[in-house]
């Protein structure tokens, strides 16, 4: 089995695993970090160390990191929390949010929920920007969509299906001067791109550990302190995390995320080289096949992703013909439903071609041999399916 689905999730880095064990073992540091006794304080200290590690990777302060259960929760908290807080005073006109059609489902579904239910009894209007054929939403596209009622822009840094990188740094500058809050889903960006929030005026930024060799089920939301991005909590309770997110802190998970982000900080540059090389090797090997399309702008790509559409083959058979290749067709999060990827549809691919697409994503432990084997299998099976097709004409 060759695993090329690192954008869906990654294995733990060995150092992350080692860092977690002392907080997981039956005889480890297991106390509740909220407990006010010795063992509790020890757990708390580990939580705070991890907070600093996460903050360090993205140029933030530890106090700007709020733990969540993952980027899904971070995105929900950022969007609903900001809208509820900011919209509290407004009356009459609909609160307005700008996002794109190629966001992760958890952003889109949150926006649709707000449109359907409103927010604190006020209507919500959402603009879903259509990216160009390359998958790009320009800062100018965003600016053109702003209205006086726009409270929030939510745009992902790196798209999880096609890997396109948006120009968030420029967008952030432009929005700051206009007083519009910017939320960025950075689940696929952390550890892959250089992120420096000290110099990029993003207000809210979502992170997930398991995309970066950390454990599943833990994430964080960066909430800027100066100027302060204010949120209504979405998880009510004992007032953990500065009142922004209640619930017992999962020490081992948090420690794992901290360790993963520390490793990511150390390895980012070399990871980028490694991943980019693998990506381009695979793309060049696949040139043996005529009529394939690379999805997304090749010059604006995160290093770990390659998304390719194969003309003339049917998507389900393509996947079935590659059982030894763990790849994704569309996002793992949406592939339970057999619908063609809405991201590829937004780029202008028709249903059939969207379905006949594979997302290859690479990781630290992917080797050149993996790529060669995978490329050979894909080429062989696409050729075979095309030969089998009564419709194919070479």
């Amino acid at each position: 089995m060759i695993y090329l689905d690192y954008a869906a999730t990654t294995p733990l880095d060995a150092r992350v695993f080692d860092a977690m064990l002392p907080y997981l073992r039956p005889d480890g540091v297991f106390a509740n970090p909220a407990s006010t006794h010795g063992p509790g304080f020890k757990a708390r200290a580990a939580v705070e160390r991890a907070r600093a590690q996460v903050a360090a990777l993205i140029g933030a302060e530890p106090g700007e990191i709020v733990w969540t259960s993952g980027a899904t929760e971070s995105n929900n908290l950022a969007i609903k929390g900001a809208l509820e807080f900011r919209g509290a005073g407004a009356t009459g006109r609909a609160l307005h949010v700008v996002t794109s059609r190629t966001e992760h489902k958890c952003v889109l579904d949150t926006c649709r929920h707000l449109e359907a239910q409103g927010c604190n009894g006020q209507p919500v209007r959402v603009t879903y920007l259509k990216p160009n054929a390359d998958g790009v939403v320009t800062p100018e596209d965003v600016l053109a969509a702003l209205t006086p009622e726009t409270l929030l822009v939510s745009l992902m840094w790196v798209n999880n299906e096609i890997g396109v990188v948006q120009d968030i740094a420029r967008l952030a500058q432009l929005l700051r001067s206009r007083g519009v809050l910017l939320h960025v889903d950075a689940a696929q960006a952390a550890g892959k791109l250089a992120i420096d929030l000290a110099n990029t005026p993003i207000d809210l930024l979502s992170l997930s550990a398991h995309k970066t060799y950390g454990p599943k089920g833990i994430g964080a939301l960066f909430v800027r302190r100066r100027p302060r991005a204010r949120l209504q909590p979405q998880m009510h309770g004992g007032g953990h995390e500065q009142g922004m997110r209640s619930g017992t802190l999962a020490t081992h998970q948090i420690v794992g995320m901290g360790a993963a982000f520390e490793v990511a900080a150390q390895r980012r540059a070399s990871d980028e080289q490694h991943l980019t090389a693998l990506r381009e090797l695979l793309w060049s090997r696949l040139q043996a096949l005529p009529r394939i399309l690379r999805n997304g702008n090749a010059s604006l790509m995160a290093p770990h992703l390659l998304n390719v559409s194969f003309e003339g083959v049917e998507g389900e058979s393509l996947r079935a013909a590659l059982p030894e290749l763990a790849v994704s067709s569309g996002s793992a999060c949406s592939s339970a439903t057999a619908e063609p990827s809405y991201v590829l549809r937004a780029l202008g691919r028709d249903d059939e071609l969207a379905n006949a697409s594979l997302r290859f994503s690479f990781g630290r432990t992917t080797t050149v041999a993996d790529i060669e084997t995978a490329a050979a299998a894909v080429i062989r099976q696409v050729q075979w399916l095309r030969e089998l097709s009564p419709l194919w004409t070479a």
């Binding site: 389900e316 058979s317 996947r319 079935a320 059982p323 059939e352 089998l388 097709s389 009564p390 419709l391």
Partner: protein, 137 residues
């Protein structure tokens, strides 16, 4: 030799074994050479379902002497094509007319949500028989 676990891994998507086996090694895939005598062709399939099945039978002495199929579609569609090509061998056109959809579905263990693949197979056989009759003197 495969252990049960190997077999499961080899068929991770959980296709019915008769489908999975034919998808992986479809006998008689292909088309007859252009000038092969006695070849009748039937096609079926819908753009909506993104599938197409082409069945070719070489009839000699009133019986199917050889068969080929091509398919574009899901693994079940491909397995249906492969099964039909096998099944048709040695049959007379009258016997082909007796194709039982339920036998086809039962043999390949095709569930309700894939019934359309079986229907496409039946449609291809019908189209082929129509062509055959047209061609009779």
């Amino acid at each position: 030799m495969q252990t049960e676990t190997d077999a499961t891994q080899a068929n991770p998507f959980g296709y019915p074994p008769p489908v999975w086996q034919r998808f992986n090694a479809p006998a008689r895939a292909g088309r007859f050479a252009m000038d092969t005598p006695g070849v009748v062709t039937g096609s079926a399939g819908s753009p909506a379902a993104h599938s197409r099945l082409q069945l070719q039978l070489r009839v000699a002495d009133g019986r199917v002497a050889d068969a080929r199929f091509l398919a574009y579609g899901c693994p079940t569609s491909i397995a249906v094509g492969a099964w039909l090509a096998e099944w048709a061998l040695g049959k007379t056109p009258a016997e082909l007319r007796g194709l039982s959809l339920s036998e086809l579905r039962a043999t390949l263990e095709i569930a309700d949500d894939r019934a359309h693949c079986a229907v496409m197979g039946e449609d291809a056989v019908r189209a082929l028989l129509a062509q055959y009759e047209d061609a009779q003197p």
